[in-house]
């Protein structure tokens, strides 16, 4: 059966509790904005799955449509779109990110 990109993405966002669609990999981010989010999550000790959109052009375009969001990176927690780099940075600074992750049952280093 042929599954569409949108179906694959729908599956991907719930594949792990925290999923980051990014350019490059968590170890080798290929873009400053993706690197910034990786750094925040790593700093908080949050385990996440990185999906490299550069390795699949259909996912790179598909995730933008799926989330109705024009840029990468995009963070999903428990299947729900949280935001891009600016929102994650702002939520990290205000402490909302930690609070939201804890509420959703994701372990965060104190």
């Amino acid at each position: 059966m042929d599954i569409t990109v949108q179906d694959r993405i729908r599956q991907e966002v719930t594949d792990a509790p925290v999923v980051l669609f990014m350019k490059g990999t968590p170890v080798f981010p290929q873009c400053g904005f993706s690197a910034a989010v990786v750094q925040i999550l790593s700093h908080m000790g949050v385990k996440f799955k990185g999906v490299d959109v550069l390795s699949d052009p259909s996912v790179r375009q598909g995730i933008k449509e799926f989330s109705n969001w024009p840029t990468i990176p995009q963070l999903y927690v428990k299947g729900e779109f949280v935001g891009g780099c600016d929102i994650i940075r702002e939520m990290f600074e205000t402490g909302e990110l930690k609070q939201m992750l804890e509420e959703k049952g994701v372990s965060v280093r104190a």
Binding site: F33, N68, W69, P70, D86, I87
Partner: protein
Amino acid sequence: MAMDAAMIERLIKESLPDAQVSIEDLRGDGDHYAAHVVSGAFRGKSRVQQHQMVYQALRGRMGNELHALALQTSVPDE
């Protein structure tokens, strides 16, 4: 491809007429901006929804001609 700040402001105000928009050209290259948009239309909306409203106003330019726009949105003070 670059886009000038006045154009970004005009597009945002076309969709959100009450918006106060301040834009900073971060590198002076017409390609990396930081914008702060304040609008009553954001009231009751999540951050994601607020940013989506601004991206909608930019009609597909974000992520294309407009490479980097660091965005901050807020509701006017009562």
